[in-house]
Amino acid sequence: MNKKILMKGNEALAEAAIRAGCRYYFGYPITPQNEVPAYMSKRLPEVNGVFVQAESELASINMIFGAGACGARCMTSSSSPGISLMQEGISYISGAETPAVIVNMMRGGPGLGNIAPSQGDYFQAVKGGGHGDYKIIVFAPASAQEIVNFTVLAFDLTIKYRIPVMILGDGLLGQMTEPVVLPEMKEIQDDINWSICRGQDQVIIRSLYLVPENQLELHNLHLQKKYRSIEKDLNKYYEQYNANDCDYLIFAYGTTARVCKAAIDRLQKENIKIGLFRPISLWPFPKEEIISISSKIKKAFVFEMAQAQFEEDIRLSFEGKKEIKGFYKLGGAIFNDDEIYELIKKNI
């Protein structure tokens, strides 16, 4: 096994992408994810890869569309305002069914906002920020090691299902340095017989379906069938922390979930039975597991760095059967464990 080394989240992500076979990166700088393009610009030429600093995020996402249409393992990264600019392209890529890994290290919004960590892009990521009926796979890691593991998985899944896969982190995860164990360099042998680079007869990759009349409907039904099968396949990505036999359960993801754990440790020392349920895949959402665990608790708490976005999906899973109390931080503010501890104490 490779040894534990210290790496910044953004750099760990970039190295993991390369080891997962990414040879094409297109991006435009924005804090707090600048270490991704910086690392890629140095590292990709060493592995005969291609790095392009695009003229904008619109260009980046459309370059990804092109590289994906060729069957390449390709990636772009940005932060909230840049990801907003990419939504049209993500919709096109979803319609055309090409692979793409998209990284969003979220920052405070709306608008240009600030550069501090946030979780305000939850709806945009999991409900689709672009037009049309589409879904993308969204992973929300909570450590540098998970960033590595889920980036590697993201490339395998985007090739397997030909659906965009998003790594949804935040400024803290991107900027924090932690020990990681990197995987070995992967030998890639993807079946890309569907791509425009298969070198035989004509292949058309498109998202426009005008004739015959029902062709777009049939295409959409095909996409929905694919989404249902992905929901079935990817239902195991969540973490439970002291979640068995508790009276109270906290729901949180990413950075916020980590901070909740510190508060849970303190509360448990006072014999308060409290645990954490942390979805790692935000779409597909681990709904079944949440439904089943919701029946065993008295009350749920939601913590997120956004206004009741993630909470909405928890509420949909709970179907009003148990009380849910949400706590939010907005505009780049972050929770600390003392605050979470106090809020729980006051509300149980």
């Binding site: 534990k4 080394i5 210290l6 804090t31 707090p32 550069i115 501090a116 400024g171 803290l172 900027q175 924090m176 340095t177 932690e178 020990p179 980590r258 901070v259 909740c260 754990k261 510190a262 440790d265 972050i334 929770f335 600390n336 464990d337 003392d338 605050e339």
Partner: protein
Amino acid sequence: MTNKIILAGFGGQGIILSGLLLAQAALLEGNEVTHYPAYGAEMRGGTCNCSVVISDKEISSPIVNKPDILLLFNQPSKNKFEAKCIPGAKVLINNSLINEQALRNDISSFYIDATNTANKLGNIKIANMIMLGALSKITGIVKLDSLINAMPEILSARNKKLIDLNVQALKEGYGLF
């Protein structure tokens, strides 16, 4: 055992780098570590800080609200962070640039003439290593040898020629207490 440390000073004093060196040294000793820098509109001469958490078990929160160890490199940092640390905290103060005495009597303050000592050694930039050397001696959270061994992992290739000078500064700081 978990230590929550904040290092703070001017941009350019090597705050982020010394935080990384501390984290790397703690990792070499088999600990879990996190390092989280303030990454706002930091610039040379502006204020700058980073949080380092060192623990023998998995670290949940990398965010340090109430530090138990503080390394203060300049006056604005003292003004900002001294009030935040827990009672009994160990506070290392670069008194080359910080004049005031401790405002609290429930913390242990240690005064280190880091910037002046660095100047005497010939490079003002190694004040951070003098502080880290003192930290090792005062708190024992990492061994001096671990800091020295961590150096090649943290310094960028173009600065490898400065390892000897930095090691000298670590030892100098260690010897002050």
